[in-house]
């Protein structure tokens, strides 16, 4: 968990360095930008591997708890088990998140891949305000989906492209 948190912090610091270097006098420094991108890559790799380990652990724990729950259910009255199962089934279905649903999910994104607009959500929002009628990506608002969004964002962010494309 600590490694995960440190990787996120280093990623945030690195991204802010890349932002700041764009306004540096004398222009972007290729050597420094390369080193920052290498650090970001290391942090991303470690973040992914630790996130994967944690997900596996969480999945294993969930499976273990499910097994023990089922065993407890079998020991109870049959009628009560049937009522509980009927009650649990609708809860397993995902609720519709209408608030954050895109009005037109079929329309392809106009944003280019690999650009710095794919920013992890733990940094301040820097996108321009859109006019009514323009779409946005599905925003990950709930904390439980932060990690998933970050993981998706990091894997979609080819670091070298972001840095070196500026040269």
């Amino acid at each position: 968990m600590e490694v995960n948190a440190e990787a996120r912090r280093i990623l945030a610091v690195s991204i802010s360095k890349l932002y700041a270097s764009r306004s540096q006098r004398g222009g972007l420094r290729l050597h420094r930008s390369l080193l920052v991108s290498l650090v970001m890559k290391s942090a991303r790799d470690i973040y992914h591997s630790s996130a994967a380990v944690m997900e596996k652990a969480a999945a294993a724990a969930a499976e273990a708890s499910l097994v023990s729950t089922e065993e407890a259910m079998e020991a109870m009255d049959t009628a009560e088990q049937q009522q509980q199962q009927q009650h649990q089934a609708p809860e397993k279905q995902p609720r519709e998140d209408k608030e954050n649903q895109s009005p037109n999910p079929q329309r392809a994104s106009r944003k280019r891949p690999g650009k710095v607009s794919a920013v992890p959500d733990f940094l301040p929002e820097k996108r321009a305000r859109l006019e009514p009628g323009e779409e946005r990506h599905e925003a990950a608002v709930s904390p439980s989906s932060c990690r998933g969004t970050l993981a998706e964002t990091l894997s979609a962010l080819p670091l070298n492209r972001v840095v070196i494309a500026a040269f």
């Binding site: 610091v13 360095k17 004398g26 290729l30 290498l38 070196i164």
Partner: protein, 453 residues
């Protein structure tokens, strides 16, 4: 060259001089960016972020005070580079002097090469101590005479005047580098020199400004595949066909100009395998080579990375023959040093004249010396608090433990804003020049002073 004392565990260094402003507030333009002795050591040049060059000259030893080496006094000051603007890329080009290299002296004048990020200039520094007087057609102030008043002819003669040192730009080598120049190096053939940026190395003739030859090019076809940049380059001190360059991956490549027109294929590659136990987020940054120098005899190569100095034998590529830890206590602080950008600092290193001692800078205005012969190392401080003339510098120690002895400083108390990035060693004597942020300190070896008494 003064003899090294084999009996002592190390040399003792005395304060000699300090140059620069005393103010605590440092103007950015006054930050020293390079220091270089000339080939005989009687001239010492400094470059700063404001694009200026200041040259100090050593006074001849006085017969009245034979125990004192001559002091360095200001000889010439001039503006080498000005800020420029690249309109095509909408980028400002800094005037900061990245490197100064002296040319071997051929006549009464002195020549040096200075470079900023994009342009190299050849400067001629010459003395004028006579001026012609007694012109027939002109007055002393330069106004033309009334010709009708001239009734005799005289031969102009040279008369002594106050010494004037002039610096004039003789050549400008421009528009040859897309990326930022990090190194220049004069060839031992006394005709050519190289300039290196992040991805390319160019070979110039000292007289020809409108063309240069590209001899190393590591730019990938697709910039997105870039993994390595050039960090420093240098010609061999006496083999005019040999040059080396260091990289951000901690690799040194030796090239031979005779092998091919383009020296992308190295003749030798020096690389030490990475220790897997010391792997961290910042392994790539701290292994990047900040400076590389041939020894004066050309047999060894010295490299400086963030935490250590390594000495390589030119005949052994697999690992360095000596490794000196400069500030290993910083290994546990790398994350903080990354956040405050100190991890990107590039520390230079230098050899003593006889290649027996190497020196490099560190934080808190400390600098370190490693005696290769007796394996003795010392940490000294460049500080105005200890600038009593001829006072011997006391060794400093950095402690990582909880208990701190007297005269020790803990790692957490180090001032990372005070750093010594640039140092130089007199080529023939034990005199060193150490640059703090905006001050230049000159120290001399005490032992040699006693021998000359």
């Amino acid at each position: 060259m003064a003899e090294a004392d084999d009996e002592n565990s190390g040399m003792e260094w005395c304060f000699s001089q300090v140059k620069g402003a005393i103010d605590d507030e440092v103007a950015e333009a006054d930050i020293i960016s390079t220091v270089e002795f000339n080939c005989t050591g009687d001239l010492l040049a400094t470059g700063d972020k404001g694009g200026r060059i200041v040259i100090f000259q050593q006074e001849p030893e006085s017969k009245n005070q034979p125990q004192c080496r001559g002091e360095y006094n200001v000889y010439s000051t001039f503006q080498s580079h000005e800020p420029e603007f690249d309109y095509l890329k909408s980028l400002e080009i800094e005037e900061k002097i990245n490197k100064i290299r002296w040319l071997p002296q051929k006549n009464a004048a002195h020549y040096l090469l200075s470079t900023n990020d994009k342009t190299i200039k050849l400067w001629k520094i010459s003395e004028r101590d006579k001026r012609p007087e007694g012109y027939n057609l002109k007055e002393e102030d330069g106004r033309y005479k009334d010709f009708t008043t001239i009734d005799s002819l005289q031969v102009p003669v040279f008369k002594p005047m106050d010494l004037m040192v002039e610096a004039s730009p003789r050549r400008v080598f421009a528009n040859a580098h897309t990326y930022h120049i990090n190194s220049i190096s004069v060839n031992s053939d006394n005709e050519t020199y190289l300039s290196a940026d992040d991805l390319r190395i160019n070979l110039w003739h000292q007289e020809i400004t409108d063309q240069s030859f590209n001899i190393v090019d590591i730019k990938p076809a697709n910039m997105e595949d870039l993994t390595e940049v050039i960090t420093a380059a240098e010609f061999h001190p006496n083999q005019c066909q040999t040059l080396l360059y260091s990289s951000s991956k901690g690799i040194i490549r030796l090239c031979d100009l005779r092998a091919a027109a383009l020296c992308d294929q190295h003749v030798k590659l020096f690389e030490e395998p990475e220790d897997p136990n010391s792997r961290s987020f910042f392994s790539e940054i701290i292994s990047s080579i900040a400076d590389v120098k041939f020894s004066h005899n050309g047999r060894y190569i010295m490299t400086r990375d963030y935490l250590s100095v390594k000495i390589w034998d030119i005949n052994m590529e697999t690992r360095p023959i000596e490794t000196y830890q400069v500030n290993e206590y910083l290994r546990s602080k790398l994350c903080s040093l990354y956040e405050n950008d100190c991890i990107f600092d590039k520390f230079e290193c230098c050899w003593s004249g006889d290649d027996s001692v190497v020196m490099t800078g560190s934080y808190n205005n400390f600098f370190r010396m490693f005696d290769r012969g007796c394996r003795h190392d010392v940490t000294l401080e460049a500080s105005r608090e200890h600038c009593k003339p001829q006072s011997v510098l006391k060794p400093r120690r950095v402690t990582t433990g909880g208990k701190r002895k007297k005269d020790e400083i803990s790692v957490d108390s180090l001032d990372f804003n005070r750093k010594i990035l640039h140092t130089a060693w007199h080529p023939l004597d034990n005199i060193i020049a150490v640059a703090t942020t905006n001050n230049l300190f000159i120290f001399q070896d005490k032992l040699n002073q006693q021998l000359t008494n």
